[in-house]
Each structure stands twice: as structure tokens, then as C-alpha cells.
Amino acid sequence: MDPESAASYVQHLTGCQNQLYAYIYSLLGNAEIALDVLQETNVVLWSKAAEYDPARPFVAWALGVAFHQVRAARTRLGRDRLVFHNLNTLETLTDDWLADTPSNLEIALDDCLNQLSPKNQQIVERYYKQSESLSSIGKALNRTANAVGVMLHRIRKKLAQCIEAALGPLGGNPSEI
């Protein structure tokens, strides 16, 4: 691979990391395992750099590779650690992903996060940025852990709705989530 192609490949690879992560996460439902599988996918993608045809869309190709890594992880990890185990489910989910792979998710998410109330923003930041547990956030907000969990769940739903409104639905019409 010549330096120019390599540079372009690296650009593609680095550019779609968040999409790959989101895809893998949605199939596995476990953040930590998804991270591992993302690493493995990156390694495979790099080793297969020479096989990549620049005429094809990179993200679709990368998702194909990631799918195989997810399958391997599914075999390796067994049923109890993953949300989905049926191969058909994984394939169906992948089809839906491939139907729509928006590249401007981050921008939409930015906008949507800004639309949240300060309190909700605080919960998001504490949970994701500072890795606080639900109970710890609950203590700070004088709520129970479950109450915080419900709030977080609603926030995610709101954000998903907001993103869909901005980008269009993933493989369907926008509707209530």
C-alpha cells in the first residue's frame, strides 16, 4: 500500500470509529465487550487494508468486518454475557445499520444535548463523563438509584427522538420512541 492510500485508509478508519463502536455496542449490548471487539475489529481492518477497494463505501466494509468480529465474540463469550445470541437477530440488526449509516451523528447529538435541561445535562455528565454510579448520582440529587436510572432512561429516549428528528429515522419513519 502506498503512503497516500495508507494515509487515506487511516483517515477512513479513524473517521468511523464512533460508528463502529455504536454498531458493535448495539449488537452486543455491553460497553466493555464492545470496546474489546472494536479493538479487534481495528486490528483486522488494518491487516486487511490491502484488500480494501477504495471504490466501495468504507463504513459498509468496516461494518462487515465488525460483524464477523461480533460473531466471533458471540461464540467466544457465550450466551450469558451478551444481549443477543440469535444469529438472525444480529444479521437483521446489521441490515438495518447498513441501510442508514449517518456520519453526522455527533453534531446531532451535540444539538440534542444542548436541548436538555441543565439538570438532565448534569445527570448525563455525571453518569458518562465522571463514571458515577446511579446510587452516587442519586445521593447527590437526593433521589434513589432507581429514580436516577429512570431519569437516565428517559433522557436517552429523548435524545434518540431528537436525533431521529434531526437525521431521519434509522430504516423507517420517525415516530415516538
Partner: protein, 672 residues
């Protein structure tokens, strides 16, 4: 019904996703979620939208990005091919984080700007296409660093990554997420690394100077230096200069990082261990951390010399136990080195480590030291005596004293000693050929056979009535025949005779001594003695080679004896149905052909004359015959089943037996 069902599914999915937020799903919940997502398109769409938000939030809040960064403290194997892949992944992750960081920036002309240092803030903005790790010049002289406020030059744009143009207005919440510190750090790291281009192209550039002024001071030093060494191969001098500068600037964390990376990169230099510790002390690290750092450096000391440096340094640092371990390892790898015992003895004495003293003194005393190292022997003897008397003084350690004494007795024993002494104005050289075939002489004072020539003795201007001597000592020798050659180099010895004294098992219980007054006929004298009960059992590398030759000779001798036996009594083995069958061991030797001239020169004692001895040799190979040694020994047919030469010599066979199993090199079918 359908509407109800969809609503039901929606609620059910909602409940399951909430349950997943609150804790791990149960088996039944998991199965139900899978059913819903697999069968209901609407549920799948909602699940994907939800999961996508979840994943994006995790990614956005950089946990993922940070974890993807390489973890530097792990030791690195040598750089090439296989490892590059891991770097690329790490590089990709770094660049991904960089791209994300860029995207969080305030967008548009009215957006709030992140406060920046003046020299960065004044740089012009660049477009998205410029968002990549720019190449750092391999060596940047100090004078090239732009002072704050100076006009920008071409190539300085890389500093402006942080001020990349924005897309769409964002509020202050975003500024809080994309902190200026973090962005600057990422930016400078990317600048330093030159990740995307350099590593992808597989380049490693040698550099004479490390641009310390470009160093991202607020970045993790281990990451920074790991990346730098992955891309560049600085020379030893460059590393030295960089460390010196960093020490002057009191950037101790970077000194530690740079030295660690150098060690991992197999660029160890003797001073590094000391500077590493100094830097760690200055950086306020605990003694435990320092010890750990030095010990981890030991992992990269891949030769005894480096280990010795490290051991000596550990001793200075007060890590005496570790140092002793290091010395013992070195002594094991290099049994003939003086240094491990010397340093080991010093450490053991300082710490009162009796076991260490025992090891070091026995190590010293069990070896013979040349005259240059006579003080080592004396020190070993002194310390051993001192320790022994102290052990004896205490009743508790009496048994230990006895054990030590026995070990010392064994250590000071010498399997054989040859002393040649003479009087008169002359120089006599002593050469001893040991059983493995090694020759110990003044030119080769230590042999793998275990012998040591203590020094070159010859008459000097000052008259010495005691005469002069040369001594060969073999502390632990092999059993076998030792051949002693005494040669006159110059001058005349009194009465033309030298005294040769051979002591076997010197200082041992079976000590045996004999002395001869040997006349020097034709300037040389030979003496041969056999040693039995030699204590040499282990083999050095060189000796293994010599030993292999020895085995070969033994086999040859065996074959020869078989041949001789068969020649003497060909009918002896007839009753066994094997008419004198023997095996042959081919021995490959080189025969010189043509004219050869060997010359040696000897300078006279007064330095006025040079005596040159020339040995011309004219040799030629007259006839070459080859033969097949694998013959049918069991056929019993005396005419056709030739069983080798039967010890009668090759020419005889050719003349008498013609084609029987023999091939002529001329290619005439074996008919010479």
C-alpha cells in the same frame, strides 16, 4: 389489535431497556428482548435508536477514547513489523479522539473561543482538511522556536489545530466538555507523534537531535516518548543531550520517560540507570518506586556487561540484595570475570551478608588470578580469613565456620601448578597444552581448559638473585595429559638448564610434587605429565567445541585400534561370522598445497636486533583416490564382499583388489 400489539411491544421494550439501565438483564428478559428486536421492525428501530444514543454518549464522553490510547508502562519488544500494527491501532484511536475533539469545538464566527496561549491563539485558522497530525521536523534548533508575538512563518500552521473553524453555533456547555487543556494536549501529542503518516509509511528516521523545545510538557511522558521512538531512532548522543537539557529544565518526568523508553528500545547506556534514579528522586518518587523502576530496567539489560553496570549502580543505590542477585547472575554467565566477585564482595562486606561474602570469596579464591589482579586474590583471602575467624568466635556459627572452611579449602586447591624458574639473563616462555587441546601461554593467559598463566617473567636490568619464574596454574582442570613446553626466547640461562616444578592437587590432600632440572636442547624442552582427579566437570562454550574434536579423536583412535586388531589377527572374529568387520570414521582435514612461508620475529633484549625465523614449506598432493567405506560386511563372500581395507592401507587395496567397492576419482569405473 395490531395497534394494541404495537403499543404493548413498545411498552415492553421500554421496560426491558429500563431494566437494562438499572442492572443486568435476567435470562428471560434477555430472551424477550431478542424476540422483540428480532421480530418486530418497529421495536428494532427503537432499540437501535436507543442503543445508538447510548453508544454515542459513551464515546463522546471520551472514556472510550482514553481507553483506546496505548498504555505505555508495559515493556516494549523490539520495534519492527509485527508491533507496528498495534501502534497503528493506537494511532488510529488517537487521531479519532483528535477528530472528535475538533468536532466539539465552538463553531461559527460568533462562537465562544477557547482561551489559548498567545503564540497559538494568534495563528491563522485552517480548514478541516488540515486536521491531521503534521510532521515534526526531525531536528529543530532551539533558535527556530517562534517567540510569542513574532510573525508566523510557513510551516507553523500545525500549532493552529486547536483553532480549527467551527460548524454551527454551540453554547458554553460545549466549551466545558472540550476543555482547552485536553485539546492542547491532544494537539501537541499528535504534532509530536506524526502518527498517521510516519507509522503508516513504516519509516523510522535516525535523528541527531531531539527537539526538546517541541515537547508537549503537559502530556504523559511515557506516551510521548513511546510515540517518538516508534517514529524516530535518535542516536545515543541525541538521547544524552536531550536528557541533559531536560535535567537542566527540571523536567524530571520526561527524563524518566525518555530513559525508560530508551531502555525498552534496547538503547541502554551505562549512565542511564544513575540518571533515572536521580530524576526519580528529584521527582519525589518513593524508594519503592525507584527500586521497581531500576528492576524493570534490568529486564532490558540483555548482556552481562549491562547487567554488571546495573548491578554496580544498584549497589550504589543501596539496593544491596538486588545488586547481589545481579552479580551472581553475571558470575554465572561469565565465570571468568573479576568484576562480579569484586563488587559482590564489597556489597556483602558493607551489609554484613555472610552468605554473600562466602559466595564472593569462594568465587575469588577458586580462580587463579594473573599478576595484574593479584590484589583481588589478596583481598579475597583477607576477607575470607576475617569472616572465618568471626564465625569461629561465635558458638552459634561454629558449624557454619566449619562448612565455610571446608569450602575455602576446596576453593584454594589447584589441580595443577607448573612453575618454571631460571637464573641468568634470559627470557623463558612457558606453554602448556591442556587435555582439551587448548594452549595456555603468555599470549593466551586464560584458556577454556581452565589454565591461567600468571604473568611473563624475564630478567630485567636489575639483578635478581632469586631468579625468575613463570607460573601456570589450573585451578580446576580436566583429567588427562598436560604437555609442557619450555622455550628460550632470548639470553642464556645458567648452565643451560631451567627448573621445572609440577605440583598436582596443590594445597589438596593428595598433593604431589616433582621437580626437574631440564636442559634446554635447541632452545626448547618438553615435559609431559598426567593429571588424575581433576575437578573440572562443567564445560565452557569454547571447551565444548574442543571437546567435540576430542571425541572425534577418541573415535578415530578406536577405529584405528580395531583396524590394527584385525590386521594382527584377521581370523579372530571368524567364528562370529564377521570376518574382521570394522567401521570407519572419516576425518576431514585441510592439506596445504603450494609454497608457504611462515615467519616469526624476535626482538633482542637490548632492542638492537631483530631475529627473524622463516619456515618455508613446499607441499604438493601427488595422488588422490576415493573409496566407498560402506561395504557389505555380512555377505561372507570374500571376493565380492570387501569389508574395507582391513587395515592394509588404501593404496594396497587399490592395487590388489581392483574394483571391489572402490571408486576412482578419474571416473574410469573404479579401475585404477
Amino acid at each position: 389489535m395490531t395497534v394494541e400489539s404495537k403499543d404493548d411491544h413498545r411498552d415492553e421494550l421500554d421496560e426491558l431497556l429500563l431494566a437494562k439501565t438499572l442492572g443486568p438483564l435476567s435470562d428471560s428478559q434477555r430472551i424477550r428482548l431478542e424476540e422483540l428486536v428480532g421480530e418486530d421492525t418497529e421495536a428494532r428501530r427503537r432499540y437501535l435508536a436507543y442503543a445508538r444514543v447510548e453508544a454515542q454518549l459513551r464515546w463522546r464522553y471520551s472514556k472510550v477514547g482514553v481507553e483506546l490510547m496505548p498504555s505505555p508502562p508495559e515493556p516494549r519488544p523490539p520495534r519492527p513489523a509485527a508491533r507496528r500494527l498495534r501502534w497503528v491501532v493506537a494511532a488510529a484511536a488517537c487521531v479519532a479522539v483528535l477528530v472528535l475533539a475538533w468536532m466539539w469545538l465552538p463553531k461559527g464566527p460568533g462562537a465562544a473561543r477557547i482561551p489559548l496561549p498567545p503564540e497559538i491563539a494568534e495563528t491563522p485558522e485552517v480548514g478541516p482538511a488540515d486536521v491531521k497530525a503534521p510532521e515534526i521536523p526531525p531536528a529543530v534548533p532551539d533558535t527556530e522556536s517562534p517567540a510569542p508575538g513574532t510573525p508566523k512563518r510557513e510551516g507553523d500552521d500545525k500549532e493552529s489545530l486547536v483553532t480549527a473553524p467551527a460548524r454551527g453555533g454551540k453554547d458554553a456547555a460545549q466549551d466545558a466538555l472540550a476543555t482547552p487543556d485536553r485539546l492542547q494536549r491532544l494537539n501537541r501529542e499528535a504534532e509530536w507523534d506524526d502518527l498517521a503518516e510516519g507509522i503508516a509509511a513504516g519509516q523510522t528516521e535516525a535523528v541527531d537531535k531531539i527537539p526538546i523545545d517541541k515537547l508537549p510538557a503537559d502530556a504523559d511522558p511515557n506516551v510521548v516518548w513511546d510515540h517518538y521512538f516508534a517514529r524516530f531512532a535518535p542516536t545515543e548522543r541525541a538521547v544524552r543531550d536531550a536528557v541533559r537539557q531536560l535535567m537542566l529544565q527540571e523536567q524530571f518526568a520526561h527524563v524518566i520517560g525518555l530513559i525508560h523508553t530508551s531502555l525498552r528500545d534496547h538503547q541502554a547506556q551505562p549512565w542511564m540507570y544513575e540518571v533515572l534514579t536521580l530524576a526519580m528522586e528529584a521527582d519525589g518518587r518513593t524508594p519503592e518506586e525507584i527500586e521497581r523502576a531500576v528492576m524493570s530496567a534490568a529486564d532490558f539489560a540483555d548482556n552481562p556487561a549491562d547487567m554488571m553496570h546495573l548491578g554496580a549502580y544498584m549497589a550504589r543505590l543501596g539496593l544491596n540484595v538486588r545488586a547481589m542477585q545481579m552479580f551472581r547472575q553475571v558470575a554465572q554467565a561469565e565465570p571468568l570475570w573479576v568484576e562480579p566477585y569484586m563488587h559482590g564482595l564489597k556489597v556483602a562486606r558493607n551489609t554484613g551478608d555472610v552468605d554473600g561474602i562466602r559466595w564472593a570469596t569462594i568465587g575469588i579464591l577458586s580462580q587463579a588470578w594473573t599478576n595484574d589482579h593479584a590484589d583481588v586474590w589478596e583481598l579475597g583471602l583477607f576477607v575470607a580469613n576475617d569472616t572465618l575467624s568471626r564465625l569461629r568466635a561465635d558458638q552459634k556459627t561454629e558449624a557454619e565456620a566449619k562448612e565455610f572452611e571446608a569450602a575455602l579449602d576446596e576453593a584454594v586447591e589447584r589441580d595443577c601448578v607448573v612453575r618454571v624458574s631460571w637464573t641468568g639473563d634470559a627470557d623463558i616462555d612457558l606453554l602448556v597444552e591442556e587435555p582439551p587441546g587448548t594452549v595456555c601461554s603468555v599470549q593466551t593467559p586464560r584458556t577454556s581448559g581452565g589454565g591461567v598463566m600468571l604473568g611473563d617473567g624475564f630478567s630485567r636490568d636489575t639483578a635478581d638473585t632469586r631468579g625468575y619464574e613463570e607460573v601456570y596454574v589450573c585451578p580446576k582442570g580436566f583429567d588427562g595429559t598436560y604437555r609442557v613446553l619450555v622455550r628460550r626466547v632470548w639470553g642464556n640461562v645458567t648452565a643451560g638448564k631451567v627448573n621445572v616444578e609440577v605440583i598436582k592437587h596443590y594445597r589438596g590432600r593428595k598433593a604431589e610434587r616433582f621437580a626437574r632440572s631440564v636442559p634446554l636442547k635447541k632452545d626448547e624442552a618438553w615435559l609431559v605429565f598426567d593429571l588424575e582427579g581433576g575437578r573440572r566437570r562443567e564445560a565452557l562454550e569454547e571447551h565444548q567445541l574442543a571437546n567435540a574434536a576430542n571425541v572425534q579423536m577418541a573415535v578415530s583412535r578406536q577405529v584405528l585400534s580395531q583396524q590394527l586388531a584385525a590386521a594382527e589377527d584377521p581370523a579372530a572374529s571368524a567364528p562370529f561370522g564377521r570376518p574382521g568387520a570394522v567401521g570407519y570414521q572419516p576425518v576431514v582435514i585441510t592439506l596445504p598445497e603450494g609454497a608457504n612461508l611462515a615467519a616469526t620475529a624476535v626482538v633482542s633484549a637490548d632492542r638492537r636486533y631483530v631475529r627473524i625465523t622463516t619456515v618455508p614449506l613446499f607441499s604438493g598432493i601427488a595422488e588422490v583416490n576415493t573409496f566407498s567405506s560402506a561395504t557389505d560386511a555380512s555377505s561372507g563372500d570374500e571376493d565380492s564382499g570387501s569389508v574395507g581395507t582391513g587395515g592394509r592401507g588404501f593404496s594396497q587395496i587399490f592395487q590388489n583388489q581392483g574394483t571391489q567397492g572402490n571408486v576412482n576419482p578419474d571416473g574410469d569405473g573404479g579401475n585404477p
